[in-house]
């Protein structure tokens, strides 16, 4: 489940462990990229203050929501593209 989506099923424990590791790796990698992107899109890198402004907070929420939408769009488009190219 989640963003990674490694398939489950009857695997030996070592492969299961490797798959779980892979999936966690994927999620934390996405999280790190998201952090960088929303920092660039939403933070005024001036630091006149130590608090997030209201505008920055709202921007951050939308940034995360839109990132997940982009993730879904890319994933669907990629699946179609791969299918088309295998036939």
């Amino acid at each position: 489940g989640g963003m990674g989506g490694a398939p489950g099923g009857q695997m030996d424990p070592n492969a299961q462990l490797a798959a779980a590791e892979q999936e966690m790796e994927m999620v934390t990698d996405m999280f790190a990229r998201l952090g960088e992107l929303c920092y660039q899109k939403c933070l005024l890198q001036r630091y006149s203050d130590e608090e997030l402004t209201k505008a920055e907070s709202v921007c951050t929420d939308r940034c995360v929501a839109k990132y997940f939408q982009v993730n879904r769009e890319v994933s669907e488009k990629l699946a179609k593209y791969s299918q088309a190219n295998q036939q």
Partner: protein, 94 residues
Amino acid sequence: MYGGGYGQQSYFDQQMQRMMEQKQLKDFMRMYSNLVSRCFDDCVVDFTSNKLNDKELTCVNRCTLKNMKLNERIGQRFAEENAKLMEDQARMGQ
């Protein structure tokens, strides 16, 4: 469990836990290194001295706190969105 005993972890669970702990440490270190690089990059602009001046110090401190708050906010939203995603996938029987 017969002969097995309560609270005993299987080899799999032990390995899983070990992996999770190493992952958390690694994630924390990545977050920390990012923070140092980001605040250095955003705040240090004067190379006429080898000591941080007052303006840079203030900037670094605000940068640290503000980015920690940013990370936390992103973390909360990320968890919410990820939970929604897993729900959707479960509903579609995937």
